[in-house]
Every structure is written in structure tokens, then in C-alpha cells.
């Protein structure tokens, strides 16, 4: 394999990583859409699409390992390959979470809606934004973008807590809501995890570009302080259930 060939395959593998990112971002959007509209057909589509995600992961991993084994890449090329090997694990997990949400949509499809969906779609929007921007950071090899993305994770964490608190209250009041409530808590948890995976991707991009590993996710103590501060300012009512 010549050096030119090496760069061609490296480029193609990076493009495949972006394709994988696009697939799982789309799956996440569709999963939440299917949940809010109780669309079982769309949920089935997402579950069927997971095979493409898995195949793409295998292809990227194989290419990365081949490049490592046959080309002994150095410096930024080596870091790019190492980053991709990590990023595809995060992307594959995001795809799995989209499937988990699709499965919950199917489970809940025969039951009446517990409450209007407000905070869960908001969580999904922010988590998707984070994922999209983390992939922008990877595509543009931009540590600047990667540094900014995790700031949004606080908002997702805050919404997760709000959803959790609200659903626990629902379930405490009405035991018939336990099955639906616990499923929706899982959905919120999956979305919170998707945002965390986006943060992981940003950490890998920073490492890829700057060559120094960095933890971008804030500690639980820092997050709690930030949430307490924003609540003290009254910027938004937690557990807002207002609906039309």
C-alpha cells in the first residue's frame, strides 16, 4: 500500500465515520419522532436500520486496523485513526440507544399517553445538536468547536433531572402509570447518554487535533452547582408541564 493509497483510505474511513454519524443522528431524531407520534412503523424502520450501522462500524474498524498494521502511521494520522476507533464505539452506542427508544415506542404503542411530550423532545433536540456539532468538529478537525459542545450537556442533564422528578411524581400518585413512567425515564436516560457520547466524541477530536487527552465533561459536583445556580436565577421552571 503506497502512501497515496494510505491517505485515500484514511480519507474514505473518515468519510465513513461521518456517514455513520449521520445515520445515528437521523435514527435518534426518528426514534423520538416515533415515540411522540406513537408511530410503530417508523420504530420498526429504525430497528431494521441498525444492521447498516453495525456493518459500517465493522468496515471502519477493519480499515483502521489495516492502516495501523500495514502503514505504521505517525503523529496526527495515528491520532486520527485512534480517535476513529473510539468515536465509532460512541456512535454505535448512540445507534443502540435510538433502537432502545424505538423498542419502547412499540411497547407503549397500545397504552394511552401518560403526559404531553415536552421535555423529552427538548432533550432530544439538544442531544442531537451536540452530536451534530461533535461531528462538525471531527469533519473540520476543529478543537474550538469540540471545546464548546460539552457546555450544552448541562442543559441535557438538567432536563433529565426534571423529567425524572416529574415521572416519579406521576408514578407515586398513580401506580397504573408505573410501566409507562419507567419506560419514559429510560428514554430520558438514553437521551442523556447520547449527549454524553457526543461529549466523548469531542474529547477524542481535541486529542486528535491537539495531541493532548482532555476531559471535557464536567464533574457531577460542577453540574449540580451549575443547575443550582440556574434554578436560583429562575431561568426556567423545572418540570414544566404546560401544554396546549
Amino acid at each position: 500500500m503506497g502512501r497515496e493509497n494510505f491517505h485515500r483510505i484514511l480519507d474514505e474511513t473518515q468519510q465513513d465515520t461521518l456517514r455513520l454519524g449521520s445515520l445515528v443522528e437521523d435514527a435518534t431524531a426518528k426514534a423520538v419522532d416515533a415515540l411522540t407520534r406513537s408511530d410503530v412503523k417508523l420504530a420498526d424502520e429504525i430497528l431494521e436500520g441498525d444492521d447498516i450501522v453495525d456493518d459500517l462500524c465493522v468496515r471502519i474498524e477493519t480499515n483502521c486496523l489495516n492502516l495501523l498494521a500495514l502503514q505504521q502511521p505517525m503523529a496526527s494520522d495515528l491520532r486520527t485513526i485512534a480517535a476513529m476507533l473510539d468515536i465509532i464505539i460512541d456512535l454505535e452506542r448512540i445507534g443502540d440507544h435510538a433502537c432502545d427508544i424505538a423498542q419502547i415506542t412499540k411497547n407503549l404503542s397500545t397504552e394511552p399517553q401518560l403526559k404531553p411530550f415536552i421535555d423529552i423532545p427538548l432533550m432530544a433536540t439538544t442531544a442531537r445538536e451536540m452530536l451534530r456539532e461533535s461531528l462538525d468538529a471531527f469533519a473540520q478537525h476543529s478543537a474550538d468547536i469540540a471545546h464548546k459542545v460539552p457546555e450544552k450537556d448541562d442543559e441535557v442533564d438538567r432536563l433529565y433531572r426534571a423529567v425524572f422528578k416529574e415521572l416519579i411524581e406521576f408514578m407515586a400518585k398513580d401506580p397504573r402509570a408505573i410501566s409507562r413512567g419507567s419506560n419514559l425515564i429510560l428514554v430520558a436516560l438514553y437521551l442523556e447518554r447520547i449527549a454524553d457520547h457526543a461529549t466523548n466524541i469531542c474529547e477524542r477530536v481535541v486529542y486528535m487535533v491537539e495531541g493532548v487527552p482532555k476531559h471535557l465533561k464536567r464533574s457531577v459536583v460542577e453540574i449540580n452547582q451549575a443547575i443550582a445556580h440556574s434554578e436560583a436565577l429562575g431561568s426556567r421552571t423545572i418540570g414544566d408541564t404546560a401544554a396546549s
Binding site: 461521518l18 456517514r19 449521520s22 437521523d26 445538536e129 404546560a242 401544554a243 396546549s244
Partner: protein, 366 residues
Amino acid sequence: MPLFDQFRKPRKTEGVSSHSALTDRNSALVERFDALVDALPVGVIVVGEDGRVTVFNPAAAEIFGVPRARALGRSLIESVRSFELDRRLWNALRGGVEQTAELTYNAGTERKLELTTRPLRGTEPPREAVAVVHDITRVRELEAIRRDFVSNVSHELRTPLTSVKIIVETLQGGVDATTQAGFLNDIARETDRMIALVEDLLGLAKLESSTLAVPFSPVDLCEVCREVVATQALRAKQLHIDLQVRTPDEPIVMLGDRAKLVQVVVNLLDNALRLTPPNGHVKVAVRSDDGHAVLSVADDGPGIPSSALPHIFERFYVVDRSRARSSTGTGLGLAIVKHIVESHGGTVVAESQLGVGTTLRCRFKI
């Protein structure tokens, strides 16, 4: 042989004596081709056989929210994060047939796109593929509005009709005189509801189908408000609502259609009176502000959630269905207000706080 290569650079024309003349002609053609593609209102993307973008017109840049410079010369997936678009373009590059699909693309705002992909020059190398992208977001939105409208009208008409049918069937079975009188009142009420709805529907359709037929003339907005408030004073008293009107001593005159402006105040006031609980307050006020007349109708009713505020001027939008059922509005009042205000070159906004109240404010140029 094509006049330019896949990067739209003039091809070399070997063996031709007037080489430079032909090259000039090719350059002019390329320039014209670029101008043509740039002027198209639909997104056009062309990729070469290595998958790199060679054409990305301004409409495509606008649709995908990607600067042209970031897309050109790179693999499409690096700038436009759509697996489906990328896959279809690669299929076309490999000689696939023309395909049309609808997809959703989200780069901050969600767009519905209709996408057609096809090989640009058959299977002859150098291969290229083109994607033509129509933004059909607005079309899909309008379709949804039309569907909702038909469904809402059917629902709003069927409900009173069903009541009337049941009452008539009961009356046919024979009832005593007192019950009969009560039932007849119910029929009259339901009929009034249907008439109000049909009148509002016709009024709105008339407003939308033409510009105001009556020429604008000077109208004193203060006088209009005082007149409408006077006609509603008895109703407010019966509802135990304190209705006040505050206007300056000097008239505030604007150019407009008086009858339509009366309708604006009537609709706003009707809304406020219906949604304000007993012992509540409704205030109608007019003031001048920096060359504008500002009409406001404020109530201290339950208020509107912030998530609902952007929708209250839509037809049949109901903030709280359980509350609305008892309050007999047609669901068209604010849509009519918005239409009339805008046809007068004005604006209408709503401000509300849950538990505090709602203010609707119209602003007209004077």
C-alpha cells in the same frame, strides 16, 4: 467530446488550429453554465467520480446551511451530513438510474426536501452525478394546515349537529311541555353556534380572497373602542367582570376600514370576556406611541402557556380544550383579528403570564 471536464475547466482541444478561440468559447460557456446554475431556485449538487463536490449552487448552500466554499472540492458527507443524500449520489455515480425521494434534513431547523439524483452523463467516464433538491418544507406545512382545517371544521360543525339530531329524536318520542321548551332552547343555542362558525368562516374566506373592498378613511380608534365597550358593558356586568376603557381626550385617528376595526375590537373583547373568570377585570386602552396607535385589550384571566402563545392566531387553535368547550368561541376570532390588522399594515402581539393574565396589543401607523 464535452467542452469542459468534471471540474468545469475548459478541455484542451488538441489538433485544432484556432486553439485559443475555442478555449475562449469554452470559458464563456463555463461562465454561462455557472451563472445559470447559480440562478436556479433549486439546490443543485454535482459530485465527480471521486465523490468530491464540483457544483454546489447558492440554493443548495441555503437549503443545507453550508457555505459553498466549505462544500466545494470536498466529499459531500464532510459538509452535508445526510447519509441518504450521500448514498443516493454514490448509487448514481455507480450508474444507478434516476431516483426521487423525500427526506428530512436538520441543520438547526428541520426541512423537508424532495431529492432527485441521477448520473450526469450516463456511465461514460468521467462519471458525475447530480442531485437536484427542492425545499418542500412550506408545502408540507400548508398541507398539514389544510388537513387540520378540514378536520377542525368538520368537527366543529358535527358537534352541534349531533346534539340537534339527538334532541330532535327525543322530541319525536314525545316529552312534556317544560322539557320541550328546554330542548328548543338547546336547539336554538346549537344553531347559533353553527351560524357563528359559518359566518366567521365566510368572513375569513372573504378577507383572504381579496384586499379590503372599502377604501380607507380616517377612523378615530378611541371612539371605536368606546363604542364597542358600550355594547359589551351589559354582558360584562352579567358575567361579573369589571370592564374598563381608557382612551385619551384627544382622538387618535388612523386610516382604515371602520367596520373592520370595530370587528377587531369586538373579537378581542369577546375573547377576553369569555376567558376571564367572574370578578375578573378587562381593560381596553388606546394610546399613541411614536407615530403609532396602540390598541390593547388586557385581562387578568388564567393566562396562556408560553408554548401556546405563538399559535393563538392560528385557526381553531385552542389553548385548553377542556376550558374552551364551555366557552363557545368559534376558534377563528384571533385569526380574523390578525388578518384585519395586517391588512391595515399593523401588527398584533400577545403577551401572557400564567395566573396573571393576557394582553393583546395591536399597533397601527397613524
